[in-house]
């Protein structure tokens, strides 16, 4: 039995029956990393020594007859934009290469509390800005299904590590699709929860009103288990919702009879790959066969989602990233003369081109004389987009679309054309603008590459998403197919 191919709930059963140990798990995943990491390049940093120490302590506890919690002893890793005390947190940026946080993000604390074992920090597009992880200042993470293709982004390292069985699960962050689009590209389950369900404290901000931490897992059950640990109110995050957290595993019900699913026609427009379209239609047929009531619908303001997103996100980013100036931490350019010179040179040398592009876009959108026409207008359109969803959810329990219009693309294919790159998030961005939860689950293959089924639900109704995703998964085998780690 290859332990690295198992899910958290399967490994937890083995630990509970003492058929494996936490140390054995860390070693197995460590060996797997040694074997595949050279090809995948998912990690920015590995913390295997700490992991082994933590595992040994846990094994002592288990030897005394204590039962492990659901995620206890489970090896995982974090996107490298979540602060980890004493472990470098870089955002895959030169400007934060030397930054070691003196504190943990709330999700890190909660996972530590639950006994999960961190194996390292995972590569991303610099400051989570990108859709291919090609914007990392450090490495190009590869798609385990075809090493000549991108894993998607910005959580490219996180999805690749799960897809390549280097970890059991990972946490990513999703501002416009950064969990779901790569999850679709690499054939894993990716959930972006409702805005405010998971604390952002310690998540290095890209766009505060859109950023949300979420899960990357090998199946829907693990998704529910991880949500049970990371979700819930946090007094350190004023935007964290003061709601009670349910037991998400209660939604793992293999039955969707009578579930009403809307298919927004705007998500099947120009640019959708015919193979992807075909796979999604098959998935819809499967859900109907399982008893769902499917009907086409319209979200009329969808076409404004991308321009709205590319005003709001860069505006917030231009302010959030102002603190990287070389004064207190991170990169400071040498020999830069006076203080303004130090600001300019440190930022010019510390940030990559995509980050600079968005800082400039956002600065422009917020500038006096342009604010009303751009930023304020975008906020108003954002409200219209939310209203589209509110209306649709009066009629439907959830909405369905492809996660991305195409399967994973090749390195360099879109990096020269930012607009083409931005369009790979066209199906995922609206959920961030509306603050609603959305999940991507493996639903088939287009030309041998994974395709993701995208389900969007009502705010704080992750339960319905999990139920439909679980039912689909229980009645299909796509999530069980493993990547070749070769070249197609």
């Amino acid at each position: 039995m290859d332990l690295t191919q198992l899910t958290a709930h399967e490994l937890s059963d083995l630990l509970a029956r003492r058929e494996t140990s936490a140390v054995e798990l860390v070693k197995a995943f460590s060996d797997r990393i040694d074997q595949v990491e050279e090809n995948v390049k998912a990690f920015n940093i590995l913390t295997r020594d700490k992991a082994l120490e933590q595992a040994a302590k846990l094994d002592d506890k288990l030897a005394r007859g204590e039962k492990p919690g659901p995620l206890e002893g489970i090896p995982m890793a974090l996107k490298d934009n979540m602060c980890t005390k004493g472990v470098p947190t870089t955002c895959s940026s030169k400007i934060l290469k030397s930054f070691v946080p003196p504190y943990n993000a709330t999700v890190v604390e909660r996972l530590a509390q639950a006994g999960s074992i961190m194996l390292g920090k995972l590569n991303l597009d610099e400051f989570a800005m990108g859709s291919s992880t090609e914007n990392s200042a450090f490495a190009k993470t590869r798609n385990p299904w075809d090493l000549e293709r991108v894993p998607g982004g910005s959580s490219g390292g996180a999805v690749a590590s799960v897809s390549a069985d280097e970890v059991v699960f990972a946490l990513g962050s999703d501002t416009g699709g950064s969990i779901r689009q790569p999850a679709a590209f690499c054939g894993v389950v990716g959930l972006k929860p409702t805005y405010g369900y998971v604390s952002r404290f310690g998540l290095i901000a890209f766009a505060s009103s859109l950023d949300q931490i979420g899960t990357l897992t090998k199946d829907v059950t693990d998704c529910a288990l991880v949500m049970n640990v990371i979700a819930g109110h946090d007094p350190k995050d004023s935007t964290s919702a003061p709601v009670d957290k349910p037991d998400f595993t209660k939604s793992l019900i293999n039955d969707i009879k009578g579930m009403r699913i809307g298919i927004p026609r705007e998500y099947f427009g120009v640019g959708i790959d015919p193979e992807v379209d075909k796979v999604i239609r098959q998935a819809i047929a499967k859900l109907e066969e399982l008893g769902a009531v499917v009907e086409e619908c319209s979200l009329p303001h969808t076409e404004y989602a991308m321009p709205t997103y590319y005003l709001i996100a860069p505006a917030e980013c231009s302010s959030n990233l102002a603190r990287y100036d070389g004064v207190r931490y991170g990169y400071r350019a040498p020999e830069s003369g006076d203080v303004v010179g130090m600001f300019k040179k440190s930022r010019a040398e510390g940030f990559g081109p995509e980050v600079k592009r968005r800082i400039m876009l956002g600065t422009y959108a917020l500038s006096s004389g342009y604010y009303d026409a751009y930023y304020l207008k975008a906020l108003k359109v954002r409200t219209l987009i939310k209203q589209d969803f509110d209306q649709a959810f009066e009629k439907f329990d959830l909405l369905l679309s492809p996660t991305a219009p195409t399967p994973a693309f090749k390195f360099g294919e879109k990096s020269a054309n930012p607009l083409a790159m931005y369009l790979s998030d066209i199906c995922t961005v609206p959920a961030n603008l509306a603050g609603i939860p959305a999940i991507s689950v493996p639903c088939g293959f287009a030309d041998g590459l994974p395709v993701g089924l995208h389900l969007m639900g009502k705010a704080f109704d992750e339960g319905t998403l999990l139920r439909v995703a679980y039912t689909f998964e229980q009645n299909t085998d796509y999530h069980k197919v493993k990547p070749s780690l070769g070249v197609k």
Binding site: N81, C91, L96, A205, S238, S318, R328, V339, L366
Partner: protein, 482 residues
């Protein structure tokens, strides 16, 4: 110099709030401390941190708004003010832009007996920045600069006045009144020497009779009333000179050089920052419940104006009422003493005279006085019921300041009880009359004043302890029988 011009001024006041902790984190707001010790990841703006609003800051802002007759907004939010400076850890200041917590209001001032309302435009909450320490004179002429972030995140209120001020005297009167109110409602320590209140003064001139505003300058970061006065006087003269020579004032931000007593250009309108304000996405908008506002209203202390009015009603002079209500601490002292000693005028005389005199001589503040309100009331009661004379009381209060002992205790210890016993005084009076035949003769010859000398002699013999009224009466009786 002012000639045919009229002054138009308005002031922005930044007051540090007297909360125990900072506006968005749990760090202490205590002044001083070793550099960068009152800090945490949140106020240092480290990557990934988030602000959590201190409820007390909102409560103090509501309290201030109520004291300034402002409308307390039902819906308010924070915004980011974006600019780069090394003392600002996030390179944006979390402040309030278009929906401040308090709107409108006024402060009433009195200059040369004329009362006037000065309008308040708005009051908003924001965070303070850190402090730069340069190796040279300024940031641009220094090889190295250091930053102390202890003050970063200390809560501030910005109180913006309407351009209603028409003279330097009005401006200073307005600021004194405003600081007095903030002190009374205990939202700020108002320690100007620590920079806890700072003023930005906008000044322009216009021809008398004109209803259009002239071009203004703003001089930033003044930290005393006297600096405001000197700065305004300089700026008025500078602008009047430009205008009377037919020139134009440049709209700009200026800085005050305290040493040279002049203002200097800091940046022009064209160089002004574009702060790119936008709603703070890390904080949720505030809905301020009316119940909360009412609770604060009910807990408001008596404000200086109504307190002054009350003291006038008790028969105090306008001057005395003004001095006693000038600070909340002194007014509280007076009221507490008044609760135990009902003669307000006598109490006022003692507070204004011996009490404040001794405090000043000792360099003490009212709140650290060794003589408490009850102590002063006890002393004055001893005078009132004839136990000691007023003269002895002056010695006793000095002793009270020295030793911290109570009045009755000192009187008893030192045997200072007034002699009101007729038989005890009779012998001494006989003695004085016998040894001063000339004065007795003078009195008999009709020189009424001679009795004063004899009373003085009796007081001297009794070391001041005799009841002077009684001595007078007994002496007269004795002399008339002679």
């Amino acid at each position: 110099m002012l000639g045919d011009f009229e002054v138009v001024a308005g002031v922005e006041v930044h007051a540090e709030l007297a909360t125990k902790t900072k506006i968005f984190c749990g760090c202490t707001t205590e002044f001083g401390g070793e550099q960068n010790t009152h800090v945490c990841p949140v106020c240092l703006g480290l990557p990934g941190v988030l602000p959590v609003l201190n409820r007390q800051v909102v409560e103090y802002a509501i309290k201030t708004g109520l004291a300034l007759n402002s409308e307390i907004a039902e819906f308010s939010k924070f915004d980011r003010k974006n600019y780069y400076y090394p003392d600002l850890p996030k390179n944006y200041q979390t402040s309030q832009y278009d929906l401040p917590i308090c709107l409108g209001g006024y402060v009433e001032i009195e200059v040369d007996g004329v009362k006037k309302r000065i309008g308040i435009t708005r009051v908003h909450m924001e965070e303070d920045a850190g402090k730069l320490v340069h190796s040279g004179a300024t940031i641009s002429t220094s090889d190295v600069s250091f930053v102390d972030y202890n003050r970063t995140g200390v809560p501030l209120l910005e109180i913006v006045s309407e351009p209603d001020l028409r003279s330097v005297d009005e401006t200073v009167a307005y600021l004194e009144k405003l600081v007095q109110i903030l002190d009374y409602i205990e939202v700020s320590d108002c320690r100007m020497e620590q920079g806890s209140v700072r003023f930005d003064v906008n000044v322009s001139l216009r021809p008398k009779g004109s209803d259009k505003f002239g071009i203004r300058t703003e001089t930033k970061n003044l930290n005393s009333f006297s600096s405001v006065r000197r700065c305004m006087e300089y700026e008025i003269e500078r602008q009047a000179e430009i205008l009377s020579e037919g020139g134009q004032v440049i709209q700009e931000t200026r800085t005050w050089d305290e040493g040279k007593g002049i203002t200097l250009s800091l940046r022009s309108k064209e160089e002004a920052h574009d702060y790119r304000y936008f709603p703070e996405p890390d904080l949720v908008p505030m809905v301020i419940e009316r119940k909360w506002v009412e609770r604060v209203r009910e807990s408001m202390p008596e404000l200086p104006d109504s307190r002054r009015q009350r003291l006038l009603g008790l028969g105090l002079s306008a001057y005395d009422a003004g001095v006693i209500t000038s600070s909340r601490d002194l007014a509280e002292f007076f009221d507490q003493a008044l609760a135990k000693f009902k003669d307000a005028k006598t109490l006022a005389n003692w507070v204004m005279g011996d009490f404040l005199g001794l405090l000043k001589a000792k360099g003490l503040l009212v709140q650290s006085s060794p003589v408490k309100p009850e102590g002063l009331a006890e002393l004055l009661t001893l005078v009132e019921n004839g136990t000691i004379s007023g003269k002895i009381a002056k010695t006793v209060i000095g002793e009270m300041f020295e030793t911290g002992k109570g009045a009755a205790e000192i009187v008893k210890e030192k045997g200072l009880v007034q002699i009101s016993d007729t038989s005890a005084l009779a012998g001494i009076i006989d003695e004085v009359v016998n040894s001063n035949p000339q004065s007795v003769a003078d009195f008999k010859a009709g020189k009424e004043r001679a009795i004063g000398f004899l009373v003085g002699q009796v007081m001297k013999e009794t070391k001041g302890q005799a009841n002077p009224g009684l001595v007078n009466k007994l002496l007269k009786e004795k002399l008339e029988t002679m």
